[in-house]
């Protein structure tokens, strides 16, 4: 796996796991892969995965049960918040792209509506 942006790899792995949670690949309460398994899957140093899990734990998205492993939280408010944050990030970056193309923010809803209608 190649990590392309300028972000540290542990942050990019945090994003990969968040995406897996929001898209349902990892379910609420489900056990995350072991540090070693994910290290092998993504071909990165196990210390990096450990750091990613630490960050996710700090954000309360996962929790660790001693001797059992790391699990996705079952608290709905946290997962809803995660989904909301990711949606906001996507929309913000989309709007920045549109502004670079020369559209104003006010133009954007109209363009989206047009494409939705055409797509029907």
């Amino acid at each position: 796996m190649n990590f392309d942006s300028g972000l540290p790899i542990y942050m990019q792995i945090v994003d990969i796991i968040k995406t897996r949670i929001v898209t349902g690949i990892l379910k609420n309460g489900e056990k995350l892969p072991s540090v070693r398994d994910l290290a092998t899957e993504l071909k990165v140093n196990p210390n990096t995965i450990q750091r990613s899990y630490g960050e996710l734990e700090r954000e309360k998205i996962v929790f660790t049960q001693r001797g059992m492993g790391t699990f996705v939280t079952e608290e709905k408010s946290i997962l809803d918040g995660l989904k909301d944050t990711m949606a906001r990030e996507k929309v913000t970056s989309f709007m920045e792209d549109m502004e670079r193309l020369g559209y104003s923010r006010a133009d954007i809803p109209g363009i989206i509506e047009k494409i939705i209608v055409e797509g029907k």
Binding site: M1, L7, P8, V44, N45
Partner: protein, 231 residues
């Protein structure tokens, strides 16, 4: 954290040419360190000094608390940058040689690694491709319970499938009570396994640090940083 390797003011000259100049480097247990630099930057000289194959003109090296010698050789497992096995050997002969030479050789681990690398015991070194030889050498090197693993250009000149197997084997065999030192100029393929990187150019350390901190600070991946420094 305990430093397993300490290098202080290390200088090595060949005739009048300085191959390494005032190298300072500390490596903790459980770290994977990438020594990065183009050909001729001093990587192999540094490794030969760590292995005790060359002697420094100035400065000192401590590995597991001692200068390179009998003790340090017994705690270092070394993958040279070229095949170190005789061409008449089979995989079985190579296993036997390691078993005889090294007290810390783990036969069970070697079996697992050979299976993972898809190497049969009856295969002969002379019939192997470059990638297969590299995989065999690495399997043997990783089967020792060493304190320091030194891998000199482990993926140079091997095909992409062998390269992935080699990377997987290195990650799977990462040990918390040992350190790994890996030289490479193929930074893009290997950067994700390094905790710490050292950019070596013309015999000097140009830049070194935690890989993740450098990414954050420079806002780029290590491969891009490498191209900026040596490009």
């Amino acid at each position: 954290m305990e430093n397993i390797v300490e290098i202080r003011g290390l200088t090595k000259r060949y005739d009048r040419k300085e191959a390494l100049r005032s190298i300072e480097l500390s490596i903790e247990k459980r770290k994977v360190v990438g020594i990065l630099g183009p050909n001729g930057s001093g990587k192999t000289t540094l490794i030969k000094l760590l292995m005790g194959l060359l002697h420094p003109n100035k400065g000192e090296i401590k590995i597991d608390g001692e200068s390179p010698g009998i003790h340090t050789k017994s705690v270092i497992s070394y993958l040279p940058d070229r095949n170190s096995l005789y061409s008449w050997m089979t995989v079985k002969d190579a296993l036997q040689m390691y078993q005889d030479f090294y007290q810390d050789f783990d036969g069970k681990k070697a079996e697992d690694l050979l299976q993972f690398m898809k190497l049969e015991r009856t295969m002969r070194v002379s019939d192997m491709s470059k990638g297969m030889k590299e995989k065999l050498n690495l399997a043997l090197v990783l089967s020792r319970r060493a304190k320091v693993y030194i891998l000199d250009e482990p993926i140079a000149g091997v095909d992409p499938v062998a390269r992935d197997q080699i990377l997987d084997a290195i990650i799977d065999n990462y040990k918390e009570d040992s350190a790994m030192i890996i030289t490479t100029h193929l930074v893009r393929d290997m950067e994700n396994i390094f905790d710490q990187v050292v950019f070596l150019g013309d015999g000097e350390i140009i830049l070194s640090g935690e890989a993740e901190s450098l990414r954050e600070e420079k806002n780029m991946q290590i491969d891009d940083l490498y191209k900026e420094i040596f490009g």
